[in-house]
Subunit: 290 residues, 2 copies
């Protein structure tokens, strides 16, 4: 049985994008730049899907009955984590033989296994996502450039073929990502709790401090501005992400709280050496993050 | 008695910069762009002062005996907070009549009053600093552009003349700052503990977490990168800043810890509504910070 995605170059493949928000819209724009054969798209809001069609971001809206999903060689699901399994259940009868499906979900849990179990033998689900995004939410914030120089995380399970993994690596490169890394689902969620969930929490916590007021804006510099850059996020999406990764996120908050206690103790004790040591530890770590 | 700084335009004034690190070096470069009459400079490291001279950032090194400080119409002190009073004590006999002195110190305490008390009648000290800076430290990181669109904080006391305040406002504008704001020394240190000290602490705490390892770099996106941008700071300078502002910094850490507890509780309780509420609170606040 022929798997189109393995046989043909990107420009000869048809893609379906499920969910046309910030990330889905960015995939659509990037795929258009790559001049792929055809882009199908759908969104829970039909108005958004129509807007993408009118803007020539997609070539066709996916039918309500899912019938034209058959054309898709590759399906990219960029919907809320909770919605992926539902989408697959509802549409699996419309998937083409040999289709490759992937997602852009920031928390994995058992989802990759759940979806693989629902797919017919000839189809494959390879989980992953770009470490990309930006403040705000929705189609209006989408941008093909979010992939540029980002990291693409691939989360294969023991069920995945080397071909699917390799394809996603190549696809990430084509999107403009600087590199791709492979990681297990368990490690993924643990790592992401630290590198993604936690900095969003610290940013929100900073602007939510009781010390914030209408004059804060006149007294900030780059430090505050940068530290709070991602404080303006989509509450619906992110409450999903945090709650689907609860244990890991709580562990990361606690690790972080220990560092704050270390700071507080050093300052309370007037311990200049301890403070310097804390900062000397951080410098080389930060310089490793390009 | 004539106060040169009040009578003459910037291009006819001689400036002395005391401390040629990141901030002092940036003043020197900005003053050169403004084509002021003459720039004198000194640094605790004579090699740094010579380097500035060789790079044409300054026109003359301040003599070890301070004798040529007499030429300065305006002196800008950009040394560690602890060092300013010492500099004034040692050099007050060399200050010209009508000289205006200012600083760039991130924490004020009683320093403005202390210095005003040391100065002769004809001289004036007006405290302030740009809300500007960047990662790293030292002359090599200095850049005239740090002032661009930044906020300039002016911290007058009851001793200051309206002329000195107005001059510093105009000077900030000439440097490229977007606006200047006036605040009392007490309010200054309290506000800065929140808008400057705290985000440096949160950035350092993030990279110092026990979860950081050599693979972290492959799993980060803009969120982590931005939130930790200022984690690489000068330990000597910043331990001074934190310890000179102890009570305020501790209060800010504690306010911040309350927000983290709020997050942790909402996640532990699986309280989706509370999480959304936290994020809904932060969005508009963040959007207020241009």
């Amino acid at each position: 049985m022929i798997k189109q995605y393995q046989e043909k170059p990107l420009r000869d493949l048809t893609f379906a994008i499920v969910g046309l928000g910030l990330i889905g819209g960015s995939y659509a724009k990037a795929l258009r730049n790559l001049k792929v054969r055809k882009i199908l798209g759908m969104d829970i809001s039909h108005g958004i899907a129509r807007a993408c069609l009118n803007a020539n971001m997609i070539d066709e809206v996916i039918e309500a009955d899912g019938s034209n999903l058959k054309e898709a060689d590759v399906i990219i699901c960029s919907v809320y984590p909770e919605a992926i399994v539902g989408f697959v259940r509802q549409n699996v009868q419309n998937f083409a033989e040999g289709m490759l499906m992937t997602d852009a979900t920031g928390v994995k849990g058992t989802m990759p296994h759940d979806i693989q179990a629902l797919l017919p033998e000839s189809c494959e689900f390879i989980s992953g996502h770009p470490m990309a995004g930006r403040q705000g939410s929705g189609l209006g914030m989408s941008d093909a450039a979010i992939f540029n120089n980002s990291n693409y995380i691939i989360v294969p399970t023991e069920k995945n073929s080397p071909e699917a993994v390799r394809w996603l690596e190549e696809f990430a490169k084509a999107l403009g990502c600087a590199r791709s890394v492979k990681v297990s689902t368990e490690d993924h969620d643990k790592i992401i709790a630290y590198t993604s969930d936690l900095p969003h929490i610290t940013a929100v916590a900073l602007v939510n401090s009781a010390s914030y007021n209408e004059n804060t804006q006149y007294f900030i510099a780059g430090g505050f501005r940068d530290a709070t850059r991602v404080a303006d996020i989509n509450p619906d999406l992110w409450s999903d992400l945090f709650l689907s990764n609860r244990a890991n996120v709580i562990a990361e908050i606690e690790n972080y709280q220990k560092q704050l206690e270390r700071w507080k103790k050093a300052i309370e004790n007037n311990d200049r050496e301890a403070l310097k040591e804390i900062m000397r530890e951080a410098g080389p770590r930060r310089r490793q993050l390009y």
